[in-house]
Amino acid sequence: MALSGMRGLSVFISEVRNCRNKEQERLRVDKELGNIRTRFKNEKGLTPYEKKKYVWKMLYIYMLGYDVDFGHMEAVSLISAPKYPEKQVGYIVTSCLLNENHDFLRLAINAVRNDIIGRNETFQCLALTLVGNIGGREFAESLAPDVQKLLISSSCRPLVRKKAALCLLRLFRKNSDILNVDGWSDRMAQLLDERDLGVLTSSMSLFVALVSNNHEAYWSCLPKCVKVMERLARNQDIPQEYTYYGIPSPWLQVKTMRALQYFPTVEDPSIRRALFEVLQRILMGTDVVKNVNKNNASHAVLFEALALVMHLDSEKEMMSQCVALLGKFIAVREPNIRYLGLENMTRMLMVTDVHEIIKRHQAQIITSLKDPDISIRRRSLDLLYGMCDVSNAKDIVEELLQYLGTADFAMREELALKAAILAEKFAPDLSWYVDVILQLIDKAGDFVSDDIWFRVVQFVTNNEDLQPYAALKAREYLDKPAIHETMVKVSAYLLGEYSHLLARRPGCSPKEIFSIIHEKLPTVSTPTISILLTTYAKILMHSQPPDPELQNQVWAVYSKYESCIDAEIQQRAVEYFALSRKGEALMDILAEMPKFPERQSSLIKKAEDTEADTAEQSAIKLRTQQQASNALVLTDHRPANGAPQVSQLGMIMVPSTSNVDQNVVDQPLTHSNGTLSVVDPQPPAQDHAPAGDILGDLLGPLAIEGPPGVSPQSELNNVPSHEGTLGANDALALAPVGDQESTVKPIGDIAERFHALCLKDSGVLYEDPYIQIGIKAEWRGHQGRMVLFLGNKNTASLDSVQAKILPPSHLKLDLSLVPKIIPPRAQVQCPLEVVNLRPSRDVAVLDFSYKFGTYLVNNRLRLPAVLNKFFQPIQVSAEEFFPQWRSLPGPPLKLQEVVRGVRPMSLGEMANLFNSLKLMVCPGLDPNACNLVASTTFYSENTRAMLCLIRIETDPADRTQLRMTVASGDPTLTFELKEFIKEHLVSIPTAGKPPAPVAQQPQPNIPPIASSDPGALLAGLL
């Protein structure tokens, strides 16, 4: 065992190692950090050796995973030390502790540059290494010419030049303009003549980056690459030290062939011949040998050669060899080779028409689907997905279905989605498609996203021939003893629409259908109950002449749910009850759903989305482009009037299966059943809850829990109709009280909810299995009124309820009395008056506690009485803006700052973000299209109304930085506002990004609700 050569460091490492547990280790580390901190404070007493030792210790501690938030300065300062040992430590530790976005790094630019242009070769190496590893844009701009000089200098030794090549590569990645200079391509070509293989390897890496960016400028380099390949393949003039297990630098071979793949073709016949000879040699001459490393290295070269052949071989001289090789690879035991064989076969599907040959290996590929290694299973699944067509769809989908039962959870969702897409795309007949989807739901209901069953509903709706079959299948599944809730949903929906087509079959009378569906009701969640209520209405409507007994049964259900806590269910129950007494009118309102217009499968879109997580994204994209869903072609697309539902369906691409998503997803369906009173055809206004965000709607259900005597009609009016009230369904689901957990866990992310509430005025602040706290706020000038809705979700009361406000100094907060006890299933409202005294970003906190049974729950929740609530957006014209802007000359009234590490977003997204913060973007004021100007009025007791002006200058080449200027008539306000905006730009809270998705989603033109739309009709009736 070698020791570090520094006693203090070795002793420290041993002591940390000897700690018996994590706690001890932390104590030891904290002690050391304290020690280092004090030593650094009186820096004068430190010898260079000590400084070095402490900086190494910092790195060690950092590596153990502890935060080291000081001492960066000391590490950076060592870079300018005169002696090598200190300098080396400074460079290494700086490049480990910091990343390119660190401010400290800018302090080092000068010292680094001095080392690069200095005469000391070892210093040059250290400096180039640092810049190559963590240099950012600023480095690129200030150092690129110096680094270039070193790379092409004839007086520099290889050890400097190879570092310079990779350093330049890094700088090029940060700013591609640095090498867009005249004559550079000639220099590059010269570099490829390099004899030193170290320099050549590094230069080749640089070259790969250059050609991937723009191959046009580098045609002259192509023959040189082929020369390099020839030299390596023939093992000519390759020093022994550059052969790896007998193979002439496999890395250089791989890089060179990679570079060649960026040229579209090789025109020159003699060069082409030379290259193909080399490739032929590689394809034929690679054998499997015993030595693992030799094998890996030679196969690294072989797979790269395969890729190059696939790219270049338009004449298919060697393609069959490639396919044969890949066929061999996917059958070997060695897992790496098999993995790569599957991967490359999938790639091959993209470039050439080898479907038929690959299909011969189908059985082998299916074997890999059952491999113990998930990496291999993934590749196999992707390949099966890619090679599927009409001829083998049945086999492949059946394999996938079979595998679904045993597949690991990590893959099930992807598997289900892929099976559904293949079934849709390649269905030989549509009844098979319905079978597959129902089987999917039956076998893996938890992993079948709502899109999948929405899609089957669309198909059935659009294909009349399919309707009786689907209804019959749905009826059959209902006979099974325990079925997944999704199956209940889809069956209920289908039977509601089409069960009358089965009327003459045994067990399919309206009454029987009703009772078998109704059996499931006690076991399902609220969104499903809503669907069932609609189904009952439809069954009732179809049973002509009316069956009084059935009618009474259904009415009994409706009257039971008339007082349901869930607004959606309650609304449906009340409306259907009223409607079903209207007799004939029911026929119109509950008529069969119209056909859906043709559209791209949301599943395929979703697959494209999820593909970002798995390999072969491009392959799938390509395939989806090539093959339009041919199942859709079978359908009869009449332009239909169901546009609103459809467009919303299309927006749902969220792969997650969380509750919230299901809510959102469920929304369109409830629309389509014709219950919703008003469909909002507009994308949500910026300061409203976005379409996908249902938290804001939770107040609906909460608010309804009023005195029981209120008539249903007036209750309905309480529901804010412009927001998708329906989404709220199961967020207030009756939480199982019996769930005995050791602690009470909040439902949903508290921080996320807070951030969402910062951007809108109503929603849920906190929720756990026992209580839900909602907020509704109104703001006027510097005053505001918030109402806290404390809702007890249980059948037992909550005791010892306490709520205290911990106000920051700039807010006056007055909370009305909070009752000690909240009765079962009741909701209390506690108004809270807010007065804003002066600008500040501090946040008020609600200290909240209650007792439920033996649990004492205490939570501190931030209240969304934040700076932007006291804004009033104001549009200013150029005439108003510029005099104001000029009248605020500079600090402290006008502050400017360059912000780095900005979450990259387009200008449109940024404008949305600003608008959602109530900072009104004023387009057209700034002549530069990359800039953005916004204004708002801020209200507080001290400042009164105060105009605030903001200007953002973005850098289109680097979205992570921008310059911000903020001006107002009050220095504190200016500063606070600047910091406030910065917080939102730098790290956008996850829930705080609603504007962005809205802007990105293709929003098809949604026509105003047609008069034949059942939803609109219903709205008229109400």
């Binding site: 080396q88 990343n99 170290g198």
Partner: protein
């Protein structure tokens, strides 16, 4: 390109991390946590690649240590697998049959040896001999400075006698 290099022990202790793409401290810890969970639990006869967040992680186990490198999906996996081995061979030569303890107590050396093998997430030198020569040269520079310091302190000590 290689986005980062991780050395993790079987117990999940981090022995070396090197980041070529910008990750904040928080992201770094998260990445380490996620990947140790994924990789340490993999059996011995599986392939050396795992797919992770749209990237690939190539890893190899040597005794008690896992060497991991994260690359882009379209990069050549086997090439990177052999970069790992190349680095291990260099460490082995330098320390003389390297073991985990060598890397713990000489983590700083592991860093500067790595700097001779990789820059900007790309292979810099494929000759073990050249790397060994350059590392030795650095060591001798450090030693020379130490001796010089020692001799200066001797001189001072003698002068002040």
């Amino acid at each position: 390109m290689i986005h980062f290099v991780l050395l993790i022990s079987r117990q999940g202790k981090v022995r070396l991390t090197k980041w070529y793409s910008p990750y904040s401290q928080k992201e770094r810890s998260k990445v380490i946590r996620e990947l140790s969970g994924m990789i340490l639990s993999r059996g011995p006869k599986l392939c050396n690649f795992v797919e992770w967040r749209g990237f690939k992680v190539v890893y190899k186990r040597y005794a008690s240590l896992y060497f991991c490198m994260c690359i882009n999906q379209e990069d050549n996996e086997l090439e990177v697998l052999e970069i790992i081995h190349h680095y291990v061979e260099i460490l082995d030569r330098y320390f003389g049959s390297v073991c985990e303890l060598d890397l713990i107590f000489n983590f700083h050396k592991a860093y500067y040896i790595l700097d001779e093998v990789l820059i900007a997430g790309e292979l810099q030198e494929s000759s073990k001999k050249t790397v060994a020569r350059l590392v030795a040269a650095q060591d001798s520079l450090v030693d020379a400075a130490k001796e010089e310091a020692a001799s200066i302190s001797n001189i001072i000590a003698q002068a002040t006698k």
